[in-house]
């Protein structure tokens, strides 16, 4: 369950950012999670709720944008979404790909007052 450690990192970053921005109350946290990270969005939401229970972040809404894996074939230039983790160009069969997204594990924004 590394979602717990990840939730802890998120809490640390958000608390720092909130105080830097003079937010007294954080209401929403926007995350971007790429399909390649192996991080399970539901488990992360659960872990976050479990770890914020008695902190200033209790009750914060977590919005997760799931980012699919996309790549571009270096052999034929075809840009496509990598389905089911098959890292092979559907046009020409090459596996020489440039992965453009899907590795994200980012805090996109926070909202509050």
């Amino acid at each position: 369950m590394h979602e717990l450690s990840i939730a802890t990192e998120i809490i640390n970053i958000v608390e720092k950012e909130a105080s830097r921005q003079h937010l007294t109350r954080v209401e929403e946290i926007g995350l971007k999670i790429g399909a390649l990270t192996g991080v399970n969005p539901d488990a992360l939401t659960f872990a976050f709720e479990a770890s914020t229970g008695d902190t200033s972040l209790a009750g914060v809404v977590i919005k997760i944008e799931k980012i699919p894996v996309k790549g571009e074939c270096r052999a034929c230039g075809n840009a496509f979404e990598v389905q089911e983790f098959v890292f092979i160009c559907p046009e020409c069969g090459s596996s020489d790909l440039k992965i453009s997204q899907g590795e994200e594990l980012d805090i996109d924004y926070i909202a509050g007052q």
Binding site: V14, V86, A111
Partner: protein
Amino acid sequence: MSKKITVEKKVLSENDRLAADIRKKLEKQKIVTLNLVSSPGSGKTSLLERTLKELGNKFNMALIAGDVQTENDADRLKRAGGKNVRPVITGGACHLDARMVTRALDEMNLKGVDILFIENVGNLVCPSSYDLGEDMKVVLMSTTEGDDKPLKYPSMFRRSSVLIINKIDLLGLSNFDIKQAEKNARTINADLKVFEISCLKETGLEAWYDWLGNQVTSKKGKK
């Protein structure tokens, strides 16, 4: 009035920062650093025991043995001849992180070390997110696991550079299809360097030892 503030920060940026420091330090000392990952029981410790016995006279090897609760693996590695072994107990965490490795390295003598092996906690999900400053991840799977393992844990196989299939002495005793396992791994990561080995019967290990030697040579050759 609620306001929205753009953060755009990597959740693991602190880990990545520490990992970058480790990488820089080990690169400067020309130490080949391998992060070994697998499910529990695939044979990480067994492979390191064999490697210590076979290459102990040839290379100076340091080892970090991660474990959730015990120092058993570190003890095994010491018994196998490991002179520079550091246990790291994660206290429940299912992975090593760069902070744990930084602390371990601070207490180790790295002078003259050729190869640093990091045995990660037995788990195919969590360790994939945590960069430890290694040159490469080496993923192990054994023939007693399903040949669809790569498809179930794509992130780990995608982020590894080497795949070791262990326990080939047991091939034929189950419906594990080694060609299918490799094919599955290669759909996820075509660049994987694959070794088929048995730590028990000591088969296929020569190729692994040669490869390790080549890694050391090319690292030393780098200015």
